[in-house]
């Protein structure tokens, strides 16, 4: 009996818990909820806490994440044409949140996963239209003022917001930003080719500048060397002349016996000219080879 009572108590507790489970629900701080009564959205709940409802199938609860959704549903490059007919790939990301849970539930019964593709189409279409109004230089420019990213983003956001407000999607977009811009494959190849050509210009410039600079340096060096040597030659001549002038003071001595001086100068010249390897051919008329003449020797011996 005691055992049965305990089982009944435990069973009753379980039934109460089960009933409580069916009739109570929590809404987290991160959530908003909508309570439907026989399928009709009757109570949107935006405050967190413990809430009560009738058990299913009378009332049902639909919960949604109320935080900013930063999912990358538009995380794909789409090609658009800019105002100056340049193809440009762009991808954007948006932050949005549910503003009216009851309306959101009616528009998107399957929740966020259903809303995102719809929103993606809306944003994509608006983005293409706005991109078409701007030249490429509004996106990419290193000049004063730079690119106009923020202005274009605001333009797209305003256009998307207008459509959302007009049709009441039950959500609001908090921000919209370009994530990335790029170029189509064919254009990329052309850009690569241009970058290569640009490098070739730089290569050519570097090579020729090097050769020109080297030539200039060498030419300048030769000029300076030539100037130095010329100056040195001049100086050498001056010194030489100075020496000659100094030496000329002693020429008067030779005037005392001009014949002797002339003879001695010739002897010096003879000696200097025979310093190198030379071959001489004499006959017996040339002194001292006159000694080889028979009459000379005979005369001398007879004396």
């Amino acid at each position: 009996m005691k055992r049965n009572s305990l089982i009944v108590i435990v069973g009753a507790i379980l039934v109460i818990i089960f009933a409580f489970w069916l009739c109570a629900f929590q809404v987290r701080t991160t959530e908003v909820a909508v309570v439907t009564t026989f399928g009709k959205a009757t109570h949107p709940i935006t405050e967190p806490g413990l809430k009560f409802k009738w058990p299913p199938p009378i009332q049902r609860v639909y919960r949604f994440d109320q935080r900013i959704q930063s999912s990358e549903f538009e995380n794909k490059f789409r090609e658009d044409l800019t105002a100056d007919n340049n193809p440009l790939l762009t991808s954007v990301y948006i932050g949005w949140r549910i503003s009216q849970p009851d309306v959101f539930l009616q528009r998107f019964p399957n929740g966020i996963s259903e809303a995102e593709p719809q929103l993606a189409k809306l944003v994509s279409s608006t983005k293409s239209a706005v991109v078409g109004h701007h030249p490429l230089s509004d996106f990419v420019s290193a000049n004063e003022g730079g690119s106009k990213f923020s202005a274009i983003e605001d333009e797209i956001l305003a256009a998307v917001d207008e459509k959302l407000t007009n049709n009441n999607y039950g959500l609001e977009i908090k921000f919209l930003r370009f994530k990335k811009i790029g170029l189509p494959e064919a254009t990329t190849e052309k850009v690569f080719a241009r970058m290569t050509s640009e490098r070739n210009v730089l290569i050519s410039r570097a090579q020729n500048e090097g050769e020109a600079a080297a030539k200039n340096i060498r030419s300048d060096a030769e000029l300076r060397a030539s100037k130095i040597l010329s100056a040195a030659q001049g100086e050498a001549l001056r010194i030489q002349g100075q020496g000659e002038a100094e030496a000329s003071k002693y020429l008067g001595v030779f005037q005392q016996e001009p014949q002797l001086a002339s003879f001695l100068f010739r002897l010096d010249a003879l000696q200097d000219s025979l310093k190198e390897k030379s071959t001489l051919i004499f006959d017996q008329q040339t002194g001292p080879f006159t000694l080889f003449g028979s009459d000379v020797m005979t005369n001398l011996l007879s004396k």
């Binding site: 420019s141 000659e244 020429l251 017996q284 080889f292």
Partner: protein, 618 residues
């Protein structure tokens, strides 16, 4: 009594059919795969319950027929009419026998086919890797399946106890399937709890386990069918229903396992372990012990321990508390009143903008622009300098270049409340923000600046931009580091950039060579000039000294000459001649009266000794 048993069998059947239908609708509506698989079991159980109920009726008819026959026998006495015990006279018995002989095996074979085909189809369905259906309204699903489990358990427990007490073999199969259905519904409910606790695949895994169990049951049915062929038929011995699964019986009544275990212990220890007070206590209070454990488990949720490096947020009925829990022990209301969410806030987290590192090249010790080291992702960058164009016609379209970018961004959570409650996925948003800021920065910056002088400033600038954007979105993080070490031209043109560097080096080499020549030329010219002047000075000095010395010599020679002019001249001549011609080759022609033609070979001859040890190569 028989009527009651049939009533319970009918109740089993009704419970299985009703709950099976509702469970299927509920599981289908809420995308519960496990719930749908469990209804296959309930369906097969319903078929088994229906057949066993029908077999019960046949046996009841046979029993009534037999009672009627016995009554007639007693009232009419023994007569030839009633002595004929041929089956022709017992249509109910004949019907039952025909049923057991033909229908039951065919039905069991059909059950086998149903089980096997279902298991096969389920396995094919689950083998799709992409298959992950989100369970909708898990709370509702949990409530329903918990209720199904409770209802089936009450019916099944009652029926199985009744069948065991009354030893009614035909009530047992249906009761076992009902109990199994109860446990399976409880498992589906547990899977749904897993989904509620943040494990969306829990339902899928439960479905897989149930499919495997179905395959096991099919295998057992097959084995039963094969063994039935070889089973010895002993007259008078009541056969076990062929469609009754022992596996289902065991799974449906796990207490049978305990009994089996007790018997095994008795056998092993050689005395009745099951008769000891310990075993009796455990058997008697097992429910209480389990309940106590559940209560202890529930109470243990009142304490939470936060690990070092972690912070946690606590939510009271879903409403966030303003207190952020730091490392250590904390008390809270039990689950599900208070729930705790932990985060590693001290950890430095990172993400990479642009090219993601390639694990295959992670061990490379040298990373070059020209060799692949990451999955290349190019960013558009502006070109301010168009001076390379030869003409003055600057293109209307701005020049753009491409840069391969791989930028690590390191961050730390500084405000956990913002990080958790502001954005659904902070990491995703930060990745978007960082990529956007890099894109925007490059689109407004000059290619050459980024590649050279602005690189350092770019890293600081980007860090500040990302931090500002994160603050604007209330991400609650601090950007610690933004690295620009891996920004370079795309691999396709990287070699050309290296060639420019090579050309610049060649240029500097040519200039340096020219400088070297310059130095050499000027140094040599200087030396030559000095030498030239020195030589001139030497010659000048020599000239002067020679003039002086010759003058002095001449002054002294004059007296000698004047003393004997001819002799002096002769002597001077001969002395000088002898000295001057000492090394000259001399030919003296002594004959004067001939007309000989003399030929002199004045060619310089190489000395013979110089040619020694010289060999000519051919």
């Amino acid at each position: 009594m028989e009527r009651s048993i049939r009533k319970y069998a009918l109740l089993n059947l009704a419970a299985l059919v009703a709950i099976g239908i509702v469970a299927f609708i509920e599981a289908r509506a809420n995308n519960s795969m496990a719930g749908q698989v469990s209804t296959i079991f309930l369906g097969i159980g319903a078929l088994v319950a229906a057949v066993s109920w029908f077999q019960m009726r046949l046996e009841e008819n046979e029993r009534l027929e037999k009672l009627e026959f016995d009554e007639l026998t007693r009232s009419k006495g023994s007569s030839a009419l009633f002595e004929n015990k041929d089956t022709e006279g017992f249509p109910a018995q004949r019907s039952r026998e025909q049923f057991e002989r033909f229908f039951v095996p065919v039905f069991t074979a059909l059950v086998l086919i149903a089980e096997a085909v279902s298991a096969f189809l389920l396995w094919r369905w689950f083998s799709n890797e992409q298959l992950l259906i989100e369970v909708k309204q898990p709370t509702i699903l949990l409530s329903f399946f918990a209720a199904f489990a409770l209802g089936l358990f009450i019916f099944g427990k009652f029926s199985s106890t009744f069948a065991r007490l009354e030893n009614h073999r035909l009530l047992r199969p249906g009761a076992s399937w009902v109990l199994l259905g109860a446990y399976l519904c409880a498992i589906v409910a547990l899977g749904t709890v897993g989904v509620l606790m943040g494990y969306p695949k829990a339902d899928f895994y439960v479905a897989k386990i149930l499919a495997a169990l179905l395959a096991l049951v099919a295998l057992e049915t097959l084995v039963n069918l094969i063994l039935e062929i070889y089973r010895p038929r002993v007259k008078g011995k009541i056969a076990r229903p062929l469609y009754e699964s022992r596996l289902v019986g065991l799974l449906g009544q796990p207490e049978g396992l305990i009994t089996t275990a007790a018997q095994a212990l008795d056998y092993q220890f050689g005395f009745k372990v099951s008769d000891t007070w310990v075993y009796g206590f455990v058997e008697k209070y097992l429910g209480f012990i389990l309940l106590l454990q559940l209560v202890a488990l529930f109470l243990s949720t009142m304490m939470v321990f936060i690990e070092p490096g972690e912070q946690a947020l606590i939510e009271h009925f879903g409403q966030r508390s303003k207190v952020v829990l730091g490392p250590g022990g904390h008390l809270k209301w039990p689950w599900p009143i208070d729930k705790v969410y932990r985060y590693r806030t001290e950890e430095i987290q990172s993400l990479i903008v642009g090219s993601q590192p390639d694990p295959a090249t992670a061990n490379q010790t040298t990373i070059l622009w020209t060799t692949p080291h990451a999955k290349e992702e190019n960013f558009v960058v502006a070109n301010r300098d168009q001076s390379l164009l030869a003409t003055n016609e600057v293109a209307a379209t701005p020049a753009v270049s491409l840069l391969t970018v791989s930028i690590p961004v390191q961050f730390q959570i500084t405000n956990l409340v913002d990080w958790v409650y502001q954005v659904e996925s902070g990491t995703n948003l930060l990745d978007d923000i960082a990529t956007r800021e890099v894109t925007r920065y490059l689109a407004g910056a000059d290619f050459n600046d980024i590649m050279s002088s602005e690189r350092g400033a770019a890293a600081d600038g980007l860090r500040e931009r990302i931090q500002d954007a994160a603050n604007a979105n209330h991400l609650g993080i601090k950007i610690i580091f933004v690295g620009l070490q891996d920004i370079h031209p795309p691999m396709k043109v990287a070699a050309d950039y290296e060639k420019v560097v090579g050309a610049e080096q060649t240029k500097f080499a040519a200039i340096l060579d020219a400088r070297a020549d310059d130095i050499k030329t000027n140094a040599l010219a200087g030396a030559a000039a000095t030498n030239m002047i020195d030589v001139a000075e030497a010659n000048s000095t020599k000239t002067v000294i020679a003039a002086y010395s010759k003058a002095a010599l001449f002054t002294n020679q004059i007296p000698a000459y004047q003393a004997a002019p001819s002799i002096y001249l002769q002597r001077a001549y001969l002395q000088t001649f002898a000295q001057a011609t000492a090394n000259a080759r001399k030919y003296v022609l002594l004959t004067t009266n001939t007309h000989d033609v003399l030929q002199f070979d004045l060619q310089t001859k190489v000395r013979d000794d110089l040619l020694q040890d010289v060999t000519l190569k051919k």
